[in-house]
C-alpha cells in the first residue's frame, strides 16, 4: 500500500488520474495509518467524477518531510464516519454531508455548518437542506443549576455574525457550541467554470482581513496548474505584502487583547499602529487591505527606489512604536494574570483537532507553511518558526509578538535586496484534468486552496479551507472549564474569521 501514496509538492500540478482511487476500507485504513504516522488533514472534500459518482478526496500534509499526499474513494450516499478515529475531519465530514448529501454514518455531531445549496445538482432533496443555523438543536446539559447563555449572531461590537451557545454552571463554562454560517456567500460554487474576471475578487474577499493570503493561495494554484514561473521580484513583493498583512493583524489583535482586559495604553496605541501598517500596504498598492496587488503571474504594482526607502523608514518607525506599546503589555502584572493559564489547550488536543497557524504554534507545535512548504521567495529567505509551549492566551499573544519581530526583519531584508526585473509574467492556459494544492501561511494560519480542472482547463472544482475552519473547534474546547467572562479574550486570542469559515 505505501507504494500507492502520491507525493505532491505545494502548488505542484498533478494529473487527476494519478490520484489513487481505493475502496472505502482501504481509504479509511490509509487515512488512520497516515495520521498516526504524523500526517495532518489539510483538506477532505467531495467532488463529482465524470461518471457522476461522488469521490471523497483526502489531502494530507507531512510537515516535517515537506510534502503532501492525496488519495480518494468513491462513495454512494453514506459511508462510515472517520471522525471518531480522526477528530480533525469532524467539520469536513459535516461539510461533505451538506454539500453532497453523503452521510457519514456514526458521526458524533452531524449537523450542517452553513446554510447552503448543494453542489450536487443530481440531488433534489439532500438531508441538510432544511437545516439552517439556529433551527437545529444545540448540545444541552440538563440540571437545575445549569444555565444557558446565547450570544449573537448580533453582537454589541462591530464584529461578524456568529452564534455562541454556552452551557454554564455559575461562571464556569461546561460546554460551548459555536454555530456559524451567517456569511455564506457560495464562493466555491461561484468559482466553478472559472477562472474569469470575477475570480480574483472572490478570492480577495473570501476573508477580508486575509486578502493577500487568499489571493496568494489562488495565484499560486493557478500558476502551478499553468506551469507559469513568477518573476523573482514579484515573488519578493508578494512575500512583503503577506508579511505586512501579518504585521497589521497581529498588532491589531494584541491591541484588541489589551482592550478586552481593559488595559488602555496598549489597546489605544496598537489600534493606531495597525492603521500604520495598513497604510503602508496602501502606500505600495493603493489599498489598505492589499486588494488588486496580486494577480496570477505576478503583482500589479512595483516599488521605485525612493518608495523602498520610504517604506523602510515607515516600517522601522512603526515597529519602534509597536515595540513600546507591546512591551507595556508584558510588563503589567495584572495583564499577565489575565493571560496566563486562560484558555489553555494541550499539545495533544491541538494535534487531535488539527489546529493550524498561531493557535497550533502557541501549543508548541512547529508548523509553518513558510518554513515547511516554502513557495516563491520563501524558498530562499526563510523565517524561523515562532512557537511557545503553554497553549494559553499568553502563548497566542506572545507568538504574535515573536512573529511581528521576525516579519519586520524579513521585510527589511527583502526590501534591501529586492531582485531586479519584471513583476508580471504571462499565464498560459491551465492544464486540463489536473489538480493542484496550494498552501499559504496566512497571518491566521494555513490557507489551503485545492483546484481541479476539467477537460477544457477550466475550474471544475475549487475547495477553500481557511485556517478558521480548523480552529473554531479549538476555541470551543479551550473554553471548557474557563470562566465565561474570559470568553472574549480567548476568542480574541484565536481571532478567527467568520466569513473565511462560511465562504
Amino acid at each position: 500500500m505505501p507504494g500507492r501514496i502520491l507525493k505532491m509538492h505545494n502548488c505542484q500540478a498533478r494529473l487527476l488520474a494519478d490520484i489513487p482511487e481505493m475502496s472505502f476500507t482501504e481509504f479509511r485504513d490509509m487515512s488512520i495509518n497516515q495520521i498516526q504516522k504524523g500526517a495532518r488533514v489539510v483538506s477532505f472534500f467531495g467532488c463529482l467524477d465524470e461518471n457522476k459518482s461522488i469521490r471523497l478526496m483526502m489531502i494530507l500534509a507531512y510537515d516535517k518531510q515537506g510534502y503532501l499526499t492525496a488519495f480518494s474513494t468513491i462513495v454512494k450516499d453514506a459511508y462510515d464516519s472517520l471522525t471518531l478515529q480522526i477528530p480533525q475531519v469532524n467539520r469536513f465530514e459535516r461539510e461533505i454531508f451538506e454539500q453532497w448529501g453523503v452521510c457519514p454514518k456514526g458521526h458524533p455531531w452531524l449537523k450542517p455548518i452553513r446554510p447552503q445549496q448543494t453542489l450536487n445538482n443530481n440531488l433534489d432533496n439532500f438531508p441538510g437542506k432544511e437545516n439552517i443555523p439556529l433551527v437545529s438543536d444545540f448540545f444541552k446539559i440538563k440540571g437545575e443549576e445549569i444555565h444557558e447563555v446565547a450570544v449573537g449572531p448580533v453582537h454589541a461590537g462591530i464584529i461578524e455574525p456568529g452564534h455562541f451557545r454556552f452551557q454554564c454552571h455559575g461562571e464556569e463554562v461546561f460546554h460551548l457550541e459555536i454555530s456559524l454560517g451567517y456569511q455564506h456567500r457560495g464562493i466555491e460554487k461561484a468559482l466553478i467554470n472559472g477562472p474569469d474576471k470575477r475570480t480574483i475578487h472572490y478570492m480577495e474577499t473570501a476573508a477580508g482581513d486575509t486578502t493577500i493570503g487568499h489571493a496568494l493561495a489562488y495565484c499560486q494554484a493557478i500558476e502551478g496548474l499553468a506551469d507559469c514561473a513568477v518573476p523573482l521580484r514579484a515573488s519578493a513583493l508578494r512575500a512583503v505584502m503577506l508579511e505586512l498583512e501579518r504585521l497589521a493583524n497581529h498588532t491589531g489583535d494584541l491591541g484588541a487583547l489589551a482592550n478586552d482586559v481593559g488595559y488602555l495604553p496598549t489597546a489605544a496605541y496598537c489600534g493606531r499602529l495597525r492603521g500604520d501598517f495598513l497604510n503602508l500596504t496602501a502606500f505600495i498598492c493603493g489599498n489598505r487591505f492589499g486588494r488588486n496587488m496580486l494577480r496570477p503571474g505576478g503583482v500589479r504594482f512595483d516599488l521605485t527606489d525612493s518608495m523602498i526607502n520610504e517604506a523602510k523608514q515607515r516600517l522601522i518607525k512603526t515597529f519602534e512604536d509597536v515595540s513600546n506599546a507591546v512591551s507595556l503589555l508584558w510588563d503589567s502584572s495584572l495583564v499577565a494574570d489575565r493571560f496566563d493559564d486562560t484558555g489553555s489547550l494541550s499539545q495533544k488536543t491541538a494535534l487531535d483537532l488539527g489546529l493550524v497557524g498561531i493557535s497550533a504554534r502557541a501549543c508548541g507545535i512547529e508548523q509553518d507553511i513558510r518554513f515547511d512548504f516554502p513557495t516563491g521567495i520563501f524558498k530562499f529567505s526563510q523565517i524561523p518558526i515562532s512557537t511557545h509551549s503553554s497553549g494559553d492566551v499568553f502563548a497566542r499573544a506572545f507568538v504574535r509578538w515573536l512573529e511581528i519581530q521576525r516579519s519586520v526583519k524579513f521585510i527589511l531584508d527583502q526590501l534591501n535586496k529586492l531582485p531586479e526585473g519584471e513583476i508580471m509574467a504571462a499565464v498560459p492556459l491551465l492544464k486540463p484534468k489536473n489538480i493542484a494544492v496550494s498552501l499559504v501561511e496566512g497571518w491566521r494560519g494555513e490557507i489551503c486552496h485545492v483546484v481541479i480542472t476539467d477537460i477544457n482547463g477550466n475550474i471544475r472544482q475549487y475547495k477553500i479551507v481557511d485556517p478558521s475552519f480548523h480552529n473554531w473547534l479549538g476555541l470551543a474546547i479551550a473554553l471548557r472549564g474557563e470562566e465565561i467572562s474570559d470568553f472574549p479574550i480567548c476568542n480574541k486570542s484565536f481571532s478567527l474569521s467568520y466569513c473565511g469559515h462560511d465562504l
Binding site: E148, V261, G262, Y263, L264, R338, E483
Partner: protein, 302 residues
C-alpha cells in the same frame, strides 16, 4: 437653609461633569483627544428626549428599577454634606439610612435586571450582588470607624467635626479608612479594576449588563444616578481628605470641588494604567477593603 438648597442644586448640576474629567484623563493617556467634558450632559439630554421600548416579558419592576434607584440616590444625596457644611437633612444615625438607601438602589437595579429574563442580565445581577456582599460591610465598618473617631453618628456630624482634622492623632486610622473607601468607591462606581464601564463585551460586564435593556428616559435616569453615586462616594473620600483645611466657606467650596475633580483625574489614571481583574479574583480585591476597615475598627476600639 437657602445656602444648603443652593449647594444641593449645585451638586445636582455638577455631578455628571466628573465623568467628562475621567474620560478626558483616559483620552490623554491613550493619546487621543477625547470626548467633550460635557458629554454625559449631552447624552442625558438626548436620552430624555427619546421614548423607551419595553420588552413584553418585563413587568412593572423593570420600569420601577431606574426610578427607584434614582430616587434612592437622590435621597442619599440629601444626607451628604458639602465642603464641611452640614447637609439638608441630618440626624443621629443617618449613616445607616445612607447605606440602606444605596442598598435599595442596588436592589431595584438587580430586580429590574432579573425581570428581563435575559441570561446576560441574570449573570450581571448575580455578580453585582456577590460583590455587594463584600463592599457593603466594608463601607459600613469604614463609617463606623469614622463614628468612633468623631463620636458623631450622622454624616454631617462626622464631616464637620473638628477631631477629624487631627491627622496627627488619627493618622493611621484615617489612612486605613481612606484605603478601604477608595476600593469601595471603585467597586460601587463600576470602575477598573473591578468592572470596565467602556467594554462592549456583554459576557464580562457587571453593572453595564444589568441595564442593557433599558433605553430612553429610563437609561437617562440610570446614567444620572451613576453621576450622583460617583459624587456620593467621592464626597466621603474628599471630605475626609480635605478636613485638615479650615478656611472661609467660598474657599472651602472651591477647594472641595477641585478635590472632586482631582479624584476624577485619579480614577482616570487608575483606569489608564491598570487592567481589569479576572472576575473570580475581584472578591480578593474587595476583601482588602473589608480587611482595612476591620483593622481600622479594631485600632479605633482600643
Amino acid at each position: 437653609m437657602y445656602l444648603k438648597i443652593a449647594q444641593f442644586i449645585l451638586i445636582l448640576i455638577l455631578s455628571p461633569f466628573l465623568f467628562g474629567v475621567i474620560n478626558r484623563t483616559k483620552a490623554f493617556f491613550a493619546g487621543r483627544k477625547g470626548s467633550p467634558l460635557l458629554q454625559l450632559y449631552y447624552d442625558i439630554f438626548k436620552l430624555l428626549r427619546k421614548g423607551a421600548v419595553y420588552s413584553t416579558t418585563t413587568s412593572k419592576f423593570f420600569i420601577a428599577g431606574p426610578i427607584v434607584s434614582l430616587s434612592a440616590v437622590l435621597t442619599a444625596l440629601l444626607l451628604i454634606p458639602f465642603a464641611g457644611q452640614p447637609a439638608l437633612i441630618s440626624f443621629d444615625g443617618d449613616i445607616v439610612l445612607f447605606i440602606y438607601l444605596l442598598g435599595l438602589a442596588r436592589f431595584f437595579t438587580v430586580l429590574a435586571a432579573l425581570d428581563t429574563g435575559s441570561s446576560f442580565e441574570g449573570m450581571g445581577a448575580s455578580r453585582e450582588v456577590q460583590f455587594a456582599m463584600f463592599v457593603e460591610p466594608a463601607l459600613f465598618l469604614s463609617l463606623a470607624v469614622l463614628t468612633r473617631i468623631t463620636g458623631q453618628s450622622s454624616l454631617s456630624g462626622i464631616f464637620s467635626n473638628a477631631r477629624m482634622s487631627s491627622w496627627v492623632t488619627y493618622d493611621p486610622l484615617i489612612i486605613l479608612v481612606l484605603g478601604a473607601l477608595f476600593i469601595v468607591f471603585l467597586a460601587e462606581n463600576s470602575r477598573i479594576p473591578v468592572d470596565d464601564p467602556n467594554t462592549h463585551l456583554e459576557l464580562t460586564m457587571i453593572h453595564e449588563v444589568m441595564v442593557l435593556d433599558h433605553g430612553g428616559v429610563d437609561f437617562a435616569y440610570i446614567m444620572y444616578s451613576a453621576g450622583i453615586k460617583f459624587w456620593l462616594f467621592g464626597t466621603l473620600l474628599v471630605g475626609i481628605f480635605l478636613k485638615g483645611y479650615s478656611c472661609g466657606q467660598v474657599t472651602a467650596s472651591v477647594v472641595f470641588i477641585l478635590g472632586m475633580i482631582l479624584l476624577a483625574v485619579i480614577v482616570g489614571i487608575v483606569e489608564s494604567t491598570l487592567a481589569r481583574l479576572r472576575l473570580l479574583k475581584v472578591p480578593h480585591f474587595l476583601i482588602v477593603a473589608l480587611a482595612l476597615a476591620i483593622v481600622a475598627l479594631i485600632i479605633s476600639m482600643r
